[in-house]
């Protein structure tokens, strides 16, 4: 009897998963492998409950972002809503919603012209340069679409201080003055002090330092700011918490509210700017892009001093799954998202990652984006030949633009854009 | 000697604030009194006696933008 019950329960669970999937129009099946489908059946901790040690700042921002996203019915917008949004000088959330809607599709060229004009007004023809440096790829999270996830069998590595210095020296020699320090999300393998040391070394070589690491508490952000970091980027990946739950099966990252509050904690810790992104292709990209924009918008209103940055990543193939693709987010949709961000928040920094190819990146830089990475590599120890090959780690995802700094500089200049290595100096 | 709206005057036979207000020709319902920077509510006007050196303001609403 009890055995029957267990079997029934198991069957029911499988049916539940299937039912949930058939209802969800935004399942990206390219992510799912047999192994992941099995793991999806296992019990998981509650993704909405903070774990011990995680600071709860009781902010109203997440609630407001989620409410706005849930209320966003993009099919209800019409051409005249888009027209009205385009004609405004200072656009609000309703205009942003219209510009992200399917009704805006026929206006793409006009949006691009306008976005370019807005960008020129705020940034002139300057383009900021930076490069990422991956100092460790150990990760305690199980994010089923990510090459670093703790179940993916890849070569792990963590640079020691000498290796970090060698990497940074090699990067600085290319003329870059801004760096983005990244780690996998393992607080145990790459603790806050280790990251702080890396930032201190970076201070010797660079004028602007950003970090893209696991979310930490506000006092830890304050410490990292003291070490010399000024910008914090945290990708929320998706703002749909149910979908988030089914993509992040284990690790601290699973805790949705802790992650969504990371930018505010960073600002409380004194950081100068924060970056936002949804990983386009994980869920309904219009809703996710809308939530991302609203997140930046509401935080800027709450912390007017905060500099706001958006990234626009689409899903990419990873080691051990070369099928992963961004589902329905084609180049056109990506462009629409970038244009909507620019028209909504003309002053925000917008980065286009090396997930995109040269053609797409250069065009987006020309139209609406303001910041570009060059000589990118998502592997650990990839910049310097001095780092021993056995100490290098595998990449997070496949990049699609491997141009050197010199090449990107040339290409930007050919577009009539002016490369800027840094326009601000850290002063504590 | 007390000061009422900046003008000096003698307490004389006035027993309390209410009598002062009325003696000046004001309707106690239409003014507010402040004695030595403390507001005395309307109901308490007759409980507040007058003391030498009191600085009293009697104010009301006028037209204004």
């Amino acid at each position: 009897m009890s055995e029957d019950k267990e079997i029934n329960t198991a069957l029911k669970e499988n049916m539940d998963i299937k039912a949930a999937m058939s209802e969800d129009k935004h399942i990206n099946t390219s992510i799912l492998s047999e192994e992941i489908l099995e793991d999806l059946k296992s019990n998981r901790i509650d993704h909405m409950t903070y774990l011990p040690g995680m600071e709860d700042i009781h902010s109203d921002i997440p609630e407001r972002v989620i409410a706005a996203m849930e209320a966003y019915d993009y099919d209800s917008y019409t051409a005249s809503d888009v027209r009205a949004a385009l004609d405004k000088k200072n656009r609000g959330p309703e205009d942003f919603a219209a510009l992200l809607s399917p009704a805006a599709r026929p206006f793409l060229e006009e949006m691009a012209q306008l976005a370019r004009k807005e960008k020129m007004e705020h940034f002139g023809n300057s383009i900021n340069f930076f490069t990422p440096i991956y100092i460790a790829n150990y990760c305690a999270n199980y994010c089923i679409y990510c090459g670093f996830n703790c179940h993916n069998k890849i070569k792990r590595a963590k640079l020691n201080e000498n290796e970090i210095r060698e990497e940074m020296e090699a990067i600085a020699a290319t003329g870059l003055q801004e760096i983005l320090i990244l780690t996998g999300e393992s607080k145990q393998m790459s603790d806050v002090h280790y990251i702080g040391q890396a930032i201190k070394i970076a201070r010797e070589y660079f004028k602007v330092i950003g970090i893209e690491i696991y979310p930490v508490n506000s006092d830890e952000y304050a410490y990292l700011h003291e070490c010399g970091a000024d910008y914090v980027t945290v990708f929320q990946e998706t703002y749909n918490s149910d979908k988030y739950e089914s993509l992040h099966l284990a690790g601290n990252k699973r805790i949705f509210p802790y992650r969504i509050n990371a930018q505010e904690r960073a600002l409380m810790g004194g950081m100068r700017g924060v970056g936002f992104a949804a990983l386009l292709g994980l869920d309904d990209f219009r809703k996710d892009a809308f939530a991302t924009g609203m997140h930046g918008y509401l935080l800027q209103r709450k912390y007017p001093r905060a500099e706001i940055a958006f990234s626009c990543p689409r899903l990419r193939p990873i080691i051990n799954n070369d099928r992963i693709n961004p589902m329905d987010v084609h180049e056109t949709e990506l462009l629409q998202v970038v244009l909507a961000y620019r028209l909504f928040m003309p002053f925000a920094s917008i980065t286009v990652s090396t997930r995109e190819c040269k053609r797409v990146r250069d065009n987006l830089m020309n139209i609406a984006a303001s910041k570009i990475s060059a000589a990118s590599d998502t592997g650990v120890g990839a910049h310097s030949e001095k780092v021993d090959k056995k100490d290098k780690g595998d990449a997070q995802f496949e990049i699609d633009d491997d141009r050197s700094v010199e090449e990107v500089l040339e290409d930007m200049r050919a577009l009539g854009l002016q490369p800027v290595m840094n326009d601000y100096v850290y002063c504590g | 000697m007390i000061k009422v709206n900046g003008e000096e005057m003698e307490i004389g036979s006035l027993a309390n604030l209410k009598e002062l207000v009325e003696s000046q020709g004001y309707n106690p319902q239409l003014v507010v009194c402040e004695v030595n920077l403390e507001i005395v509510s309307r109901e308490k006007l007759q409980d507040r006696g007058l003391e030498e050196g009191d600085e009293i303001e009697i104010v009301t609403f006028m037209q204004g933008g």
Binding site: - | N5, V59, T60, M62, G65
Partner: protein
């Protein structure tokens, strides 16, 4: 939004009228007609030393259902404004107060910093604080954080009837703050009042423009109609302006491949 559900909300107090009428500089016997013609629900008054020999009872001239908004005119710093606010509350029995603090007798420009201090104190005591200010975004944010019920930026020096001289800055306040923005001071004609309402201001406060008009009650009515028209235009969403000279530029989206 439906026009019928459209209210000016000041800390939960809702008003149908978006015209705050000043009562200064004109004969007290015109107030009633002006208030009625303006359909005003809020009228400002000032606190002054009573005149010896009795006072005109301004309450007699203002309809009973109208909210009295005492201002703190005459205050030169936060401390004096707070003192006036306390006396006014005792007299009016209501929590509404318009903070006006001026240290400049020539232009009568408000002192933003003292205004923040007074707002903080009075809001903490439960007042519905309506601060008159020089339109500065940072100050407006500080006033909001101090607990203000709205922000009252000036359009031009008070009493000048010069119109929307601070237009660009008022627009910034409207765009960036979630509080009602009530444009106060300097609005000289109904068309100017209409314009600020079209821009998205929540209400207009006017006094001198009406007080110095040829016919006070008639001008009050003209303002009321202009403010209503401006509000309705704002809610309806203004039509587009066709820009001169279409710019032919090469297409930017030709690169797309999928």
């Amino acid at each position: 939004m439906e026009i019928n559900d459209d209210y000016l909300d000041l800390k939960g107090h809702k008003f149908k009228s978006r015209f705050i009428l000043g009562s200064g500089k004109y004969s007290i016997d015109l107030i009633k007609a002006a208030v009625e013609n303006a359909s005003a629900e809020i009228v400002t008054v000032a606190l002054r030393r009573a005149n010896q020999g009795g006072v005109d009872n301004i309450f007699d001239y203002i309809p009973k259902d109208v909210v009295l908004l005492p201002n703190t005119s005459g205050a030169r710093n936060a401390e004096e404004a707070i003192r006036i606010a306390h006396l006014s509350r005792e007299l009016s029995g209501s929590d509404f107060v318009k903070i006006e603090i001026m240290r400049d007798s020539k232009y009568l420009l408000p002192d933003n910093f003292e205004t923040i201090k007074a707002t903080e104190k009075l809001a903490s005591e439960g007042f519905v604080v309506m601060p008159y200010m020089y339109p500065d975004l940072n100050v407006a944010r500080d006033l909001r954080d101090a607990g203000a019920a709205c922000i009252m930026p000036l359009a031009a020096p008070i009493g000048s009837n010069r119109g929307l001289e601070t237009r660009a800055f008022i627009k910034i306040l409207i765009d960036e703050l979630d509080l009602p923005i009530i444009v106060d001071a300097g609005i000289g004609s109904p068309s100017q009042a209409c314009q600020v309402m079209e821009m998205g201001a929540s209400a207009v406060m006017a006094n001198t423009a009406i007080a110095t008009a040829g016919n006070v009650p008639a001008m009050a009515e003209a303002f009321a109609q202009a403010i209503k028209a401006g509000r309705e235009a704002y809610l309806a969403g203004l039509g587009r302006i066709v820009k001169e000279g279409a710019s032919a530029s090469s297409p930017l989206t030709g690169y797309l491949r999928d």
